[in-house]
Amino acid sequence: MLLFIVFALIAIVAAVGVIISRRPIYSALFLLLNFASLAALYIMLQAQFLAAVQVIVYAGAIVVLFLFVVMLLGGGELNGILDPNQKPGQRFGWPKIAALVLALMMVAALGYGLVSGQLFTGQGDATAFGQGGVQAIGSVLYTDYLLPFELASVLLLVGMIGAVVLARKPE
């Protein structure tokens, strides 16, 4: 329970840091912290394989890609949440009102769910769930989910070709 509170606080603080940092490089590093604490939460949920994949794919590949692009485009200082160049009428325009309404709705739904509802209890097979290891998840992935697995590989191939084509310098 203590570990959950610690990692949840780290995740929330890092998430807030991503959206309030003025330099994009700090945002990318806060994003790394967020992904790492989520990997710790996956271990708490007995999903060790997912935690490993989270560290490799998100904290490894995606954050490095973000840092690469930030460095390439120049990580200069940006306007923060309150943009001083905006006119005062724009400063509290529709995006911030929409964000406020969304946040209030989320808090209301959370409060309702916590006060009124309880999830009904699990009915799965604890031995098949295993310890979240590679064997259990692999046997599901290669039997029940074989077609989505193959389609995911095609998607990655398309993504790779598309990235190469889009990022190439025009002739």
Binding site: A15, V18, L31, V69, A109, L119, G122
Partner: protein, 100 residues
């Protein structure tokens, strides 16, 4: 033993923070990072409910979301780079080529 609802609340909070970032920030890289945080919050929901119901299908879904997120980041950052090469800005207000 941490109750499942705590994980759901945490992921809802992270999703709300990500949505806030998408709506409030105007830099396209920060918006991308916020979208990634939202995808991660959904992944946490899947993993928490997979643990709650002792079913592995949720974890398989998390893997699929990760594949889509990786492809999305590769394509999206390539688009950002080609737009920056063209217009020399990362501010999303200035990317209005398709505006009617």
């Amino acid at each position: 033993m941490v109750p499942t609802s705590y994980f759901l609340v945490l992921s809802a909070v992270l999703f709300a923070i990500g949505a806030l970032g998408v709506l409030v920030r105007r830099n396209v890289l920060i918006i991308f990072m916020s979208v990634e945080m939202m995808l991660n919050a959904v992944n946490l929901t899947f993993a928490a409910l997979a643990h709650h119901f002792l079913q592995l299908h949720g974890q398989v879904f998390v893997l699929m979301v990760m594949v889509v997120a990786a492809a999305e980041v590769a394509i999206g950052l390539a688009i950002v780079m080609s737009v920056v090469r063209h217009k020399d800005t990362t501010n999303i207000e200035d990317m209005n080529l398709l505006k009617g």
